[in-house]
Symmetry: C2
Subunit: 357 residues, 2 copies
C-alpha cells in the first residue's frame, strides 16, 4: 500500500465511540472520513465528512464505501466475513488485515493461534454440547469460564461455572453455540498493551495500563500499572510478537493476566483501537487513534511516550448524568460520545485524570 | 443563558481552521456543530454535523442557523454587524458578546476602549486623509505604522512609513479607508495571553506565549515566553481587566508588546480563539478551544495549566508540503487543517514540539 497524502479519504466500518475518536484523529492529520453504520445517529456519523447508513453486509453500501475511500478500517472485530470478502474483491485496501479479524472473531482460533506462536493463555477446551462440557470440566477443574466462541464482548456470552450443579445452566446460557471452557485464572491483576504496527513492520507499544472491570465491563485503566519492569518488558515483547505473527497493520489491544507469581498470560486481543487505550488521548502526544490512522495510511508511527501518568474512568449508563460535577472537577478531562440515549451498561463517555510523571 | 447539556447544538460562523478546532472540541464534550461558511469545502464543514453554505449576511441562512442552534459563536472578528443584529433579533444567544466584536472590528475604537480602561497602547492618531497623516506624523514621529481601521489581519491593510517620502505611498495603500497611525514601538518581544471568561464572570488565562512573526504572519509561539514573573503576572491581570470590561464570554486573544525596560502595551485583541493559543491543544489538558466551548455553553471553565512546555510552528503555504518529514520527526505533533489548496501565506497546519516542564 502506498502512503496516503493528507486529503485522502478513510472509510470506517462502525460509527460508535471508537469510530468517532478515529475520525477525530484522522481529521487532525488532514484526512476525511466516511462512516458506514446501520444507525443514522451513530456518534461518528456526526463528525465525519459523510456517512452511509446501512447494514455491514449491504453490498450497495460497501461498493459505495469502496469507491470513495483510499483505505478502509473498522472499529469492531465482528465485521462480517462476507463484508471483508466483498471489499477485498472490490479492490479496497483493508487494514488491519482480514486474517487478524478472522482469528479474533473466534475464541478457539484465537487461543490456538496464541499457543501455536508460543504465547501462554489460560487452559481451554472446545465445548459443543453438554457432554463436551462435562469432559472439559474434568480436564480443567472448577470454577471455570464458559464462553461462546463468537460474538462475545463486555462480558456477554459468558457464564462462570462454580460447581457441577451449574453445568446445565451454563450450557443453556450458550444457547447451543460453539463454545470454549477456560480454566479459571486466579490472577493478581490485569494489564493491557496497546500496540501499533506499521506497514514497514515496525511496532511500538504504549506503557501497559492496569485494568479494573465490573460486571464484565472495563471501569478503569491506570497508568502506570504497578507491574514490575520485567513484566512490562515481557508484556510489550509478547505484544509485538503477536502483531508480527499476524503481519498486522494498525492498533492491536492485548489483554494480559498477571499471576500472583508474576507470570503473564494473554486473555484476548482485539484487532482495533481499545477502550483501555483511551487514556493515550489525554496523556500522550500521539494517541492510539492517531497511531492507528498513521499505520493504515502507511505513515511513520508516532511516539508512544506519555507526558503524564493518569487514570481513565469509563462513564457507563447513568454515570454520564454526572457530567455537571465532572465538568466542574479541577483537572478532570471529560469526553462524551454524543450518544442520544443512555442505557444501562452503555459506554457514554470517559474521564481521564492526569498526574505528574 | 442557561447551561447547555451535552447533545445541544452550537452554531459557528466561519469554517476555517479555528472553526474546525472549535468543532472538534465541541464534539469531545458531546455537542453537535453547524457551520455557516460561504465555502462548501471549508475545513470545519467536513467534520461538523451539518454545514450551511452561504454568505454571512444571507438572512435565510442565518435564520436556519438560528432555528437549529442553542448558541452561536464565530471564528473571526469580522462578522458583519448586520448578521449580528439579525441573529439577535431572531432571539439567538450569541457569544462572545457583540460589543466585543464591534470594538475589535475597528482599530480606533479598540485603542480608545483600551485607553478608557487604563490599559497602555502604542500612541495613535486617526487618519482620514493625507493631511491627517501629515499631522499624525508630526505628533508621533517616524517610523510609524499606518493601518486601516477595519478588516486588517495577518499584516494586510498595513504600511510601515519610514520617512516623509513614504507618506503618499502609505496613504495610497489604505485605498481611501479610514485609518490610524500608530507610533512605532521598538519592543523587545511580543507575548500573547489567551484568556477565557465564563458566564459567571470568572476568568482564567493560559501562560503567555512569546510570538515570532514574519511578513506580518505568526510563525512561532514559544511557551514559556521568557518574560519575568512580574511581566507575566501583569499581562495576565491586564487580560482579565479587558475581559471584564467587555463583559466577555469565551476566549479572547490579547497581544502585548514588551518593551526593553519591561513595560507592557496591548497591541490588539481578538474576540475569538487565537493562533498563538494552538499550543494549548497539545500542551494542556484543556485547550483554548474546549474552554471557549465551555464558556459559551455556560459550563465551568477548565483548568488552563499546561503539562509541558512547547513550541508551536505555523505551517504556511508550501511549509505544509513538508508533511512527510514532520510526520517522521520524533516528538513532532502535527495538525493539518484539511485545506484543499496551498497558497502563499495561507495557514495550512501547525506543528507543536513538547518539552518537559
Amino acid at each position: 500500500m502506498k502512503t496516503l497524502s493528507p486529503g485522502a479519504t478513510i472509510g470506517i466500518l462502525g460509527g460508535g465511540q471508537l469510530g468517532r475518536m478515529l475520525a477525530m484523529a484522522a481529521s487532525r492529520l488532514g484526512f476525511s472520513c466516511i462512516i458506514l453504520d446501520p444507525d443514522e445517529n451513530c456518534p461518528a456519523g456526526k463528525i465525519a465528512r459523510a456517512m452511509i447508513c446501512a447494514d455491514y453486509d449491504d453490498e450497495t453500501a460497501l461498493a459505495a464505501l469502496s469507491a470513495q475511500c483510499d483505505v478502509i478500517t473498522y472499529e469492531f472485530e465482528n465485521v462480517p466475513a462476507h463484508a471483508v470478502a466483498f471489499l477485498q474483491a472490490a479492490g479496497s485496501a483493508l487494514a488491519p488485515p482480514p486474517k487478524a479479524l478472522a482469528i479474533s472473531q473466534d475464541r478457539l482460533h484465537e487461543k490456538n493461534f496464541l499457543q501455536d506462536i508460543g504465547v501462554s493463555t489460560a487452559p481451554y477446551q472446545p465445548v459443543n454440547n453438554e457432554s463436551d462440557l462435562q469432559n472439559a470440566i474434568e480436564a480443567l477443574g472448577l470454577p471455570a469460564l464458559l464462553k461462546t466462541r463468537r460474538l462475545g464482548y463486555d462480558g456477554k456470552g459468558q457464564a462462570l461455572i462454580k460447581n457441577k450443579n451449574g453445568l446445565a445452566k451454563g450450557w443453556k446460557a450458550m444457547q447451543g453455540m460453539s463454545s470454549i471452557l477456560e480454566g479459571f485464572i486466579d490472577f493478581a491483576f490485569e494489564i493491557s498493551v496497546i500496540t501499533v504496527r506499521g506497514k514497514d513492520g515496525n511496532s511500538k507499544t504504549y506503557h501497559p495500563a492496569r485494568n479494573l472491570h465490573a460486571g464484565g465491563i472495563l471501569r478503569r485503566s491506570i497508568v502506570p500499572s504497578g507491574a514490575s519492569p520485567e513484566i512490562i518488558a515481557e508484556a510489550r515483547s509478547i505484544a509485538i510478537k503477536i502483531a508480527d505473527a499476524l503481519d498486522y497493520v494498525g492498533v492491536l489491544g492485548i489483554e494480559f493476566f498477571v499471576s500472583k507469581d508474576g507470570a503473564l498470560m494473554v486473555n484476548e486481543f482485539a484487532p482495533r483501537v481499545h477502550n483501555s487505550g483511551h487514556w493515550t488521548v489525554e496523556a500522550c502526544g500521539i494517541s492510539q487513534f492517531e497511531n492507528h490512522i498513521r499505520a493504515i495510511a502507511a505513515w511513520p508511527l508516532g511516539d508512544t511516550a506519555r507526558h503524564s501518568n493518569c487514570e481513565m474512568e469509563n462513564l457507563i449508563g447513568e454515570d454520564a448524568a454526572n457530567w455537571p460535577a465532572l465538568a466542574a472537577e479541577p483537572g478532570a478531562l471529560l469526553t462524551l460520545y454524543g450518544k442520544r440515549h443512555q442505557r444501562p451498561g452503555r459506554k457514554m463517555g470517559h474521564v481521564t485524570r492526569l498526574k505528574p510523571l
